[in-house]
């Protein structure tokens, strides 16, 4: 059993089999589909996030991988071995829970040593391996403490050490930082990413926090109602959302209804109550559609300094109804001429020149516009 923690895993070896594969996995609870036909591939040595709102099936998917839930149909493969019918203790995985789930009756050392003991290793091997794992998560010197004597962040480090000390084939993390406060959470995210590079283990990371998913992941699978809506790199799911759901999951979006009135090669024409827009076509859309623009992509300008729409920019006109202070940004709520509300982000200093009540135009790049079928 390899327990040397500092040796990098040969993650970049060519043609390595995927660390984990789900093939057409479904699971219903009392007739309700919790996970529906989910297929996923986790390349060796990478971090995949399952991202979605609560109840979207991401945790059930993780529990199917762990072996706590048996899928109704489909296959779970770990490193090209079919483990669908294997009980959890034979899958050689690691898992980290949101509430740490440390053994309260064991010391930090005993907690981390548990997985090695269950593999019937001797004390001569267990001691150095446990100390190496604790060094990796910077918990040296606390071996004799009990979990209740540690802070939340410390407990989660111990849980991490306990999970990686056995060098699992895949490490499963179920909202591991959900119980930590924001600053600590962000620190732990960066540390986790570094840890993953050091140990080279593949991670599946469940979260409902889109920022966390963008920070940590090599790939993100966005889930909704038991179905994977989109899988891609953080850039891809953020910049090129394939559905309105994915788009609106990553920050506030403005949604306008319209109708596709035609297309010319790389762009489609959308007619709506606020005008006719020419937007780049990423996927074929026809008929009734929705146009989505992130509030962060919308800039506010004074309408009296009106600039004609060039082909690159789209805009609507209205009046500032409210300004919400957010610290580093402010959120403008603009009432458009047709009565709809448009949200736009700006710098706090903008409030001096564009106050509440000012007539404004809200403009964004056509390239930042997303069109989805309605």
């Amino acid at each position: 059993m390899a327990v040397a923690m500092t040796r990098a895993h040969p993650a970049v070896a060519p043609a390595a089999p995927p660390a984990l594969e789900l093939v057409g996995v479904s699971k219903s609870f009392r007739g309700v589909g919790a996970v529906r036909d989910v297929s996923l591939t986790l390349p060796a040595g990478t971090i995949l996030s399952l991202l979605g709102p609560s109840g979207c099936g991401k945790t059930t998917t993780l529990r199917i991988v762990a072996g706590f839930v048996a899928p109704d149909t489909g296959q779970v493969r770990i490193g090209s071995e079919d483990v669908t019918d294997l009980p959890p203790h034979l899958r050689h995985l690691g898992m980290v829970f949101q509430n740490y789930a440390l053994f309260p009756h064991m010391t930090v050392f005993e907690n981390v040593a548990f997985g090695l003991r269950m593999r019937n290793l001797g004390a001569a091997e267990i001691g150095p391996a446990v100390r190496a794992a604790l060094r990796l998560v910077r918990m040296t010197g606390l071996e004799a403490r009990y979990p209740r004597e540690l802070s939340g962040g410390q407990q989660q480090r111990v849980a991490l050490a306990r999970a990686i000390v056995t060098r699992p084939r895949v490490l499963l993390l179920d909202e591991p930082f959900g119980a930590l406060d924001r600053q600590l959470r962000e620190e732990m995210q960066i540390e986790l990413k570094q840890l993953q590079r050091t140990v080279g283990i593949s991670f599946v990371f469940v979260t409902h926090d889109q920022e966390e998913a963008l920070t940590i992941s090599d790939r993100i699978a966005v889930m909704r109602s038991g179905v994977i809506e989109q899988v891609g790199t953080p850039d891809e799911v953020f910049e090129q959302p394939r559905s309105l759901f994915v788009a609106s999951f990553f920050g506030t979006v403005n949604v306008f209804e319209g109708t596709v009135s035609g297309s010319d090669g790389s762009a489609i024409l959308v007619a709506g109550p606020l005008g006719r827009w020419r937007v780049p076509a990423r996927a074929p859309v026809s008929g009734a559609c929705v146009v989505a623009v992130r509030a962060a992509d919308v800039a506010v300008r004074r309408a009296d300094r009106d600039e004609a729409d060039d082909g690159d920019w789209l805009s609507i006109h209205g009046r500032v109804e409210n300004i919400v202070y957010k610290g580093t940004t402010v959120l403008y709520q603009i009432r458009a001429r047709d009565g709809s509300l448009v949200l736009a982000a700006g710098e706090p200093a903008l409030r001096a020149s564009v106050p509440v009540g000012a007539p404004v135009s809200a403009a964004w790049r056509a390239a930042r516009t997303h069109v989805f079928p309605r």
Binding site: A66, P88, L90, M95, F97, A101, F103, T107, F114, M118
Partner: protein, 302 residues
Amino acid sequence: MATVRPDFASRTRDAAPSRPRGRRTPPAALWLLAPGLGVLGVLFLYPLARVVALGATADPRTLGSPSSALAAVILSPYVWRLTTTTLALACWTTLVALALGYPMAYYLVRSTSRHRYLAFIAVLAPLMVSIVVRTLGWIMVLGTDGLANQLLLALRVVSRPVVWLYTFGATVTGLVHVLLPFMVLSIMAALARIDPQVEESARILGANRWRTFRHVTLPLSAQGVAGGCALVFSLAMGSYVTPALLGGGKVQVLATQIYAQMLEIVDWRTGALLSLYLAGLTLLVLLAYALLLRRAEAYRGG
């Protein structure tokens, strides 16, 4: 009935370090104790004082001192026999209740079945029926013409009725039935505090079901087991109705002898001395038990 109930449940391992040591209870909180202490004082301490007073009166026949009278009662071979029977009865009852109660408690806490409420009611049911009625029920089941014998005879498993009634085994059976809810509820309380994900952690770390139980579930529910055992043991030590009815005079324990002394022989003094002896014995066993547990815990906790 039970004279001592060491409060194991309140000594939870988790709560202990967070409780500030040496902080004094605010005086207002003491008033919350007053009603309970009042009831205890009237219904327990006063009769106890009366019993002590009774036992301390000089023997009208020999005019010996109270302490020599107590020694004479305790050291008599008959009382020694009663003592071993009482202890054996309480120990067996505790062991059987533990063996039956742990799996039941585990099922009731962990099952997601819709029928588990029925099982829970079945566990609690003995508490809702009078002890006398329940024990008479056992007589109907275990008697020579009882249900069990009729069944065995009809199935030709036995050729003549088995004698169950008025034996030690029948008494243990009856007591287990009566006291099982205390064991189950005590263990349930401990199991319910265990986070299922702690057990799942053990599973994913390579422990099969048995090793998960052995290394995680059992140690984490030990407090409930200890409390349940203490409760059932002390209740069994003082039980009277079940040994009297199911033992039918053939299973003599301290409690039945106290009854006989007081109400049949009308030797209140000896009855009082035996009562004090039983209370002292139960207290002694429970104290030894508590010390043993503390030892084990200190050893485990390092």
